[in-house]
């Protein structure tokens, strides 16, 4: 019988519910607390999911974080908000999200939507360093999603597409897959800019049209980096055309870590990729009528991107222009204690960590000690979570069951928050050091 840990005996926890790194990775099982963003979550969803449906037009937008004197302004939860909300939207094609925003059930049912998320990451194995690579990963994100029962998005889209084609008389039973392929091919024949659907792309389309989701996933996992770095955009085009058959009215694509792309790219490459954004993503079907692109930005990234952006005559995304308000969200982070308290409480009581016998609440922290942590780390959620993580580890080490103001003294807090800032800077240094590429 394994020994019970201090987390279990003192706090009824399975482990430390706060992440030591608190950086977002879409595959990790983080505790997502949408309420921590307060009214900004509604603002985000209204602008990037509801507004394009209401206006009948997609948009390009941006999610910013801004801290005076800090051009990177990291740790505000931009990635978490984009990635996790995209997953939630895909669970039910945006139904719960639209209902939450006050859309009627009828309208929400009539306007199924999808969202996807990709993070530029030039340092990763087979890095995501250009628009094609990013587009391919957007497809993979979408196909990884499933509903509450675990049924994959691909299968649900196919089911709907088949039902619609049958209803319109464009498919016959037992030949549904063929009907889907023909419908997608026909869609592209009608476009001004066609794509050549051959070889691997043809195979991808056939997998999309078939009900075998496992085979589709296996196929995508075998598509090599060389190919998808040059053809990723076409994969996304095919997927969007397929999803259109299933009545998907709008797509919101969240593009994260733009600074990774800009910091590692020469100006010519930046210009080339911004041109692709304009020509292929914003002005060509199947995206032009139903796909919005939302970029994660901070001052440093936008500064590098700006010339190319302006050169391509793209909509300004600066956070401080009042004209940009409909397209831009500036995250404020944990700007009030209520939000911080809620974040801590949700993490501490999440079923992944809280044992059944644990009483709800923020213990082992007290209200005043938690407020102190917040005061020291505000407004960055990442720092707040990291400090809470480290405090729990320290308490576990010292066998302290209650983390009150006596335990969380000013000296300790100052040391921990300095460590946070240092960790962030070191992370940045790592990213700049070519030896770690």
């Amino acid at each position: 019988m394994p020994l019970k840990s201090f987390f279990q005996t003192a706090w009824d926890l399975n482990g430390n519910p706060f992440s030591g790194k608190a950086t977002y990775a879409e595959d990790s099982q983080i505790v997502y607390v949408p309420e921590m963003f307060g009214s900004q979550r509604e603002e985000f969803l209204r602008k990037f999911v509801q507004a394009p449906l209401e206006n009948g037009q997609p948009l390009i937008g941006a999610v910013w974080s801004v801290v005076p004197g800090d051009p990177k302004a990291r740790g505000f939860g931009k990635s978490t908000l984009m990635g996790e909300e995209a997953k939630r939207i895909n669970q039910d094609f945006g139904f719960a999200t639209l209902i939450h925003l006050g859309v009627s059930e009828t309208d929400a049912r009539a306007n199924p939507v999808l969202a996807s998320y990709v993070s530029f990451n030039t340092k990763a194995n087979e890095g995501i360093a250009n628009i094609d690579a990013a587009c391919f990963q957007l497809v993979r994100f979408l196909l990884r999603c499933a509903d509450a029962k675990g049924v994959k998005t691909h299968l649900r889209l196919r089911e709907r597409a088949v039902a619609k084609l049958l209803k319109e008389g464009n498919a016959v039973k037992d030949q549904e897959s063929r009907a889907i392929v023909m419908a997608v091919e026909e869609r592209f024949r009608q476009l001004a800019v066609t794509i050549d659907i051959r070889n691997l792309l043809e195979e991808f389309l056939m997998h999309l049209a078939s009900p075998d989701t496992d085979a589709l996933e296996k196929f995508l996992s075998t598509v090599g980096a060389w190919h998808h770095n040059r053809n990723g955009l076409k994969y996304l085009q095919l997927f969007v055309a397929f999803a259109e058959l299933a009545d998907i009215q709008h797509f919101t694509f969240f593009i994260d870590q733009v600074e990774d792309f800009t910091s590692e790219s020469q100006p010519s490459k930046i210009r080339k990729n911004v041109k692709i954004i304009r020509d292929a993503l914003l002005e060509s079907e199947p995206f032009a009528s139903r796909a919005s692109f939302v970029f994660q930005l901070h001052p440093d990234a936008y500064r590098k991107l700006r010339d190319a952006w302006t050169h391509e005559d793209l909509h300004d995304l600066n956070y401080d222009s009042p004209l940009n308000k409909p397209y831009v969200v500036v995250l404020k982070g944990l700007d009030n204690f209520k939000a911080a308290c809620l974040l801590a409480e949700r993490c501490l009581n999440h079923p992944q960590y809280a044992l059944p016998e644990r009483e709800r609440g923020i213990h082992p922290f007290t209200d005043s000690s938690l407020e102190k942590v917040w005061q020291t780390t505000k407004p960055r959620p990442r720092w707040f979570i990291r400090v809470l993580h480290d405090l729990l580890e320290l308490a576990k080490d010292e066998r302290v069951s209650v983390l009150d103001e006596k335990f969380i003294n000013p000296t300790k807090l100052k040391a921990l928050s300095s460590k946070m800032q240092q960790d962030d800077e070191e992370e940045l240094e790592d990213q700049r050091d070519d030896r770690l590429a």
Binding site: E105, R109, V151, R156, R160, A163, K167, G169, D247
Partner: protein
């Protein structure tokens, strides 16, 4: 297949074929002048088969054999000695088959009115297949509920490595009885069920279960423990899962019964009758003479009320869209109708103009139908969600 009943052993053999295949073969022999051979019947079935079968001189021979044995048992066909094994195929391929007078008559009915032929065959089956008769009588007492085991998670994933067979038996019994408690499952059946589960788990033994992958483990528990134990508790004369499956399939082919696992309040597969008989099937001694299906004319007067009631139980909140499969399950069980009768009645309602009393909204499905069930289809329209509105 034998089961000790109170007075005598009841034996039967349910053919592993579709009812349609039986009637098609009858018709084929009639079209061939009333005479044919085993090999010709086999080739006829092969040609008709929609499944991809290998081109082999043995393909479909077991089906041909089972069909002809059944037709002979029902005195619709007289045959020579039929091949029982592949090795007998060569020598017995030309075994003759000839329609009897009753066979000619039924073939004629099938040609003119196929539905009537099914009903006549159904009456013949009930009167000549004791297993099938017992099953139909049982369904006419009340729906039969099956607590299918489809995943290890239902019993707890750690149960696969459970060494103690008694613990495994208890887990199966507890789980199944808990689900069955949602229906009227009499206490008098609980004890035989519990006893049968214990016996069957012991018979299987640790050696059989260990080394099986999760899917095979689940299938073994379902087919070798749960189904036979339930059939024992229900005092049906057959206890093996394969016979049960074929009896059920035949009942569905005849439109005598249907099933669903989509009832939102019951985590069970519910099997229910969808027709009546003269004399009533509950009288297990008398021979059946007539089938009275619960068709559209039967269901139509009751349909709107049943639909409203089902919708109000499924829609959360009322006024929003509801899972159409769940609504269908409730209505079909309550009215004892086939799913296609549900679709027909719903289609009729939807084809009329909306009224202030009832307006029906539907949405195409994002989800496949539940396993073992068909789409709800009206014309070419598949329905996944349903909403009823009234002022």
């Amino acid at each position: 297949m034998q089961k000790e009943s109170k007075d005598q052993k009841v034996t039967d053999s349910i053919p592993r074929v579709a009812v349609l295949q039986i009637l098609q073969v009858l018709h084929h022999i009639a079209d061939s002048g009333g005479k044919s051979t085993f090999e010709k019947v086999r080739l006829f079935l092969l040609q008709r088969s929609q499944r991809a079968t290998p081109s082999s001189r043995f393909a479909m021979y077991t089906i041909a054999r089972d069909v002809l044995i059944d037709l002979q048992k029902l005195q619709l066909v007289q045959t020579g000695i039929l091949p029982r094994t592949q090795s007998q195929m060569e020598s017995l391929a030309e075994a003759p088959c000839e329609l009897t007078e009753a066979g000619h008559s039924l073939a004629e009915v099938y040609k003119e009115r196929p539905g009537h032929a099914f009903d006549q065959l159904l009456v013949t089956w009930i009167n000549n297949h004791p297993y099938f008769h017992a099953f139909i009588v049982r369904l006419h007492q009340q729906p039969l509920c099956v607590p299918d085991i489809t995943s290890v998670k239902q019993l707890g994933s750690e149960v696969r490595s459970e060494e103690n067979l008694n613990t495994l038996s208890h887990r199966i019994v507890d789980h199944c009885l808990k689900r069955l408690s949602n229906m009227p499952f009499p206490r008098t059946k609980e004890e035989p069920f519990t006893h049968a589960v214990g016996e069957r788990v012991q018979e299987l033994g640790r050696m059989t279960l260990s080394g099986l992958d999760a899917k095979k483990w689940v299938d073994t528990i379902q087919d070798k423990v749960v189904i036979p134990s339930l059939l024992t508790a229900e005092e049906l004369p057959f206890t093996d899962a394969v016979t049960f499956q074929h009896v059920l399939k035949a009942a569905k082919d005849f439109f005598a019964a249907s099933w669903t696992a989509s009832h939102p309040e019951l985590s069970l597969r519910v099997i229910f009758s969808t027709c009546d008989f003269q004399p009533p099937a509950i009288d297990s001694q008398a021979s059946i003479t007539e089938v009275i299906h619960h068709g559209k004319s039967f269901a139509a007067p009751l349909f709107v009320a049943a639909l409203r009631s089902a919708y109000s139980r499924v829609a959360k909140p009322v006024g929003s869209y509801a899972d159409a499969y769940a609504v269908r399950a409730i209505v079909c069980i309550d009215l004892q109708i086939q799913p296609r009768v549900f679709a027909a009645c719903l289609g009729d309602l939807m084809s009329t103009d909306p009224t202030p009393e009832l307006t029906i909204y539907t949405e195409l499905p994002f989800d496949s139908p539940p396993p073992g069930e068909d789409y709800i289809e009206i014309d070419r329209n598949r329905i996944g969600l349903l909403k009823l509105a009234s002022s």
